[in-house]
Symmetry: C2
Subunit: 316 residues, 2 copies
């Protein structure tokens, strides 16, 4: 059975995994992003992690399809070239695929992390039955990936899928990426800030959940409160899901995918998010479109980045 | 040289043309949509128009690639099946490609009219040099077509490209197609209504252009006034182009096409539209995306529908 190494290069941790062609993770390792210094240090830490997984790349021969790396930033996929990483200093203009091939002697592909996750979900996760899917991951920001005809759509210059910047309000707040972008409404910080504002004049079980320390409030507390029927928390999810639905309606009218696959921390809230999200999306679409679109949770969880990156390498 | 017949099935007129593989229109004919009755009547009128163009389909043999029809509504492209036409009564659930093949004995493709125009512009018009283009046509509504890798992207159920319904304001006006859809801001009626509202408290040369009869005001008058430097008309174009830019920014972040091709009546206004449109789009994108996107006028004008439909038939 063919294998690939998937590397999920995050701002906090770098996760590695050996993934087989059924999407099963056979071995795992990780290191802290901050613990490696510079590109050479990073390559050394990757080599160390491969050894920790008892993975001798040379001995695998034809079994090893290659290495896939998902990185948080802009990548020229064709060349495996990193333009810039958003939250990792020092990674500007790095020909990572070439450096990896030289160091490890195996084929390497490099892609944006959300593209990798989108592909992983379509190949091995929630999107297995679909050919046209749009993937979103909800967190501090909103990442995205577009899969059309079973292939990641990267756009004219490898930058497509930036769903978090899609404007949902032409009069919205100005940022470096435009005005009224989706993630200014549904990012973790924004939904927590909204709950805090509402708490000034409303009762809720939220203060109890954080022992009165509202600074400690996270989306996880909001999810817990919503599941217990807390009206304020349910309203936050209702508003957030309506903002999401606005962007998804636009994507549906433009591309008509078969399915939206939603992952990331907040998606763990489950039905308190997906229920209103589906309802608002229906309200924001004509019946022709509403009847033909699905919204489902991602399936691969924390392993999505590793499995997705490996899936890109397995595709070759 | 290979030829195809293109048919542009509009709500007012049905235009036909014989188009060669360089996109040149060799012969033209047309009839009023209302003059034909039912589907049989329509097929008879098409046969009559073909005769008027002295086109004996049987004698063309291999020279004739086939017939392409662009229709204003939802089509199942694979089957050449019309689900429903928006403004033409009686055209629901019509297997038009099959009926045409039976009647005329040649291969026939049927597509949404904006998809046909999008493809025509990419094959023979303003989009010749590009592989990834998004086409918009500005009129009463806003139609659209998405071309990726040189092919029309039709979506999971042949309904993609409905750019006019992309929401640009989550709090916007509710319609049957959702809330805050683009065409509620930039449709012909909406921009004329906006000008009329502004005229209640502002001076402008617009009343003179319509001899004081503001009911006669059209986007053409707005364009004329704007070209003469009329501040009110320029503001209408500025606002309209900012609304357009909001939708185009979202499309750019999602798909990163190479180019937007803008056609339709209002696009005839030229720089008073395209100047502010490009400026607002730049403001609404991060520099990475802004530097890599173009906005250009369509090239095929009134022949876009006929040439596009024929181009789809030539593609086969």
């Amino acid at each position: 059975m063919r294998l690939a190494v998937g590397i999920d290069f995050g701002g906090t941790a770098v996760k590695l995994g050996v993934v087989d062609e059924r999407g099963r993770v056979r071995a795992e390792a990780s290191f802290e992003t901050a613990s490696s210094h510079g590109i050479e240090g990073w390559l050394a830490a990757v080599a160390e992690a491969l050894r920790a997984m008892k993975l001798d790349l040379r001995h695998l021969g034809r079994e090893l399809a290659g290495i896939g790396v998902g990185v948080p930033g802009f990548v020229d996929f064709e060349r495996g070239f990193i333009h810039n990483l958003t939250n990792v200093p020092g990674w500007t203009a790095v020909p990572l695929a070439r450096l990896m091939r030289r160091r490890f002697g195996v084929p390497t592909v490099v892609d944006n992390d959300c593209n990798a996750m989108a592909y992983g979900e379509c190949r091995f996760g929630a999107g297995r039955k679909f050919r046209h899917a749009v993937f979103l991951t909800l967190g501090t920001g909103v990442g995205g990936g577009v899969v059309l005809d079973g292939r990641v759509w990267r756009g004219a210059h490898s930058m497509a899928g930036e769903i978090g910047h899609i404007p949902i309000d032409l009069h919205g707040v100005r940022t470096e990426t435009g005005r009224g972008g989706l993630e200014e409404y549904v990012g973790n910080r924004q939904i927590v800030a909204r709950a805090r504002r509402m708490l000034r004049s409303r009762t809720s079980i939220l203060p109890d959940l954080v022992q009165g320390n509202l600074r400690a409030l996270t989306p996880r507390h909001l999810a817990e409160a919503a599941h217990r029927g807390d009206a304020l928390a349910l309203e936050v999810f209702d508003y957030m899901s309506d903002c999401l639905a606005t962007a998804l309606a636009g994507i549906t009218y433009l591309l008509q995918p078969e399915v939206f696959i939603v992952g990331g921390g907040v998606a763990g809230a489950g039905e308190v998010l997906f229920g209103p999200l589906r309802r608002h999306l229906n309200e924001r679409l004509s019946p022709f479109f509403a009847e033909r679109i699905r919204v489902i949770p991602a399936d691969l969880g924390n392993q999505g980045g590793v499995v997705g990156a490996a899936a890109l390498a397995l595709k070759g």
